[in-house]
Symmetry: C2
Subunit: 132 residues, 2 copies
DNA sequence: AGTTAATGATACCATAATAGTATCATATGT
DNA sequence: ACATATGATACTATTATGGTATCATTAACT
């Protein structure tokens, strides 16, 4: 079981790499060389990050990507949320609304507690803290 | 993201149901009626639980499944382990051995901490505590 | 103006994991 | 013998994942 999927992992690596030199523009080709991530795939991910306001992008010759905000303000949870959706550990396999135990299920209680803890831990991780 | 997969969830429900009446034998057909889980699928799961020593099974007319040990000694983690393998949150998407950061990766450290916590929480959940 | 190097948008594809079915063999109580 | 159960295992359908391919657009540099 992975807490962090490949999408998120790749994206995070790229963001961290870009964050190390805030001024420069990094075209996908340059990131590919440094990070060894399949080009077209990485490109797709960066486009998403751009649409979500994490990265700036500049088209045309000499263009590329840069951070859209300071690395202190980009959190692991932001990127996880973009690629993995709402973080939620406690989905009952009987659907919500179907399951008659949702209210008093003892397992649910416990998993909610775990979820809360994990969420707290992850939300304290900023990109800035990962690039030192 | 689910901490507990459908396999585990179904299996756990079945085990809990069986645990409520330790003496009786429950054939799959009876569990299907009570738990609304697809029959052939549940059957497969129960066979696995039997092979792993969680359930007893008795063939032939009047046969079925029963617990192989007291519900205090069956843990959520046992069932998770059977259907979901070793619990591990921190798989780096660069493979182990490939990733040059494995030693000093700041993310890895944090995720290991989370993993430890979650593991501890889950391992305290016995079937006995779920059937009251 | 034309070429080159970049992203934007989106459709497509291949593989693997998940969820579930089907079948035949074997055992057992009546 | 027959009905009812599990054992073992092969098969299948659906979805998620990981990745490609293509065409359009934009911009710098001759
Ligand atoms: S069984 Fe549905 S919420 Fe726990
Ligand atoms: S990047 Fe590989 S262990 Fe963190």
């Amino acid at each position: 079981m992975k807490l962090i999927t490949r999408d998120t992992d790749y994206a995070l690596r790229a963001v961290c790499f870009i964050a190390k030199n805030k001024e420069r523009l990094y075209p996908v080709s340059s990131l590919v060389k440094n990070l060894r991530i399949p080009g077209p795939f990485l490109r797709k991910l960066l486009q998403v990050l751009h649409n979500k306001g994490i990265l700036n992008s500049f088209k045309g010759k000499g263009g590329g990507f840069s951070l859209a905000k300071p690395p202190e303000d980009i959190f692991l949870t932001d990127i996880m949320h973009i690629f993995q959706g709402e973080f939620c550990l406690n989905e009952c396999s009987l659907g919500k609304g179907i399951c008659p135990h949702t209210k008093d299920c003892p397992l649910r209680e416990r998993i909610l507690r775990i979820e809360k803890y994990v969420r707290k831990e992850l939300s304290s991780v900023a990109v800035a803290s990962l690039i030192k």
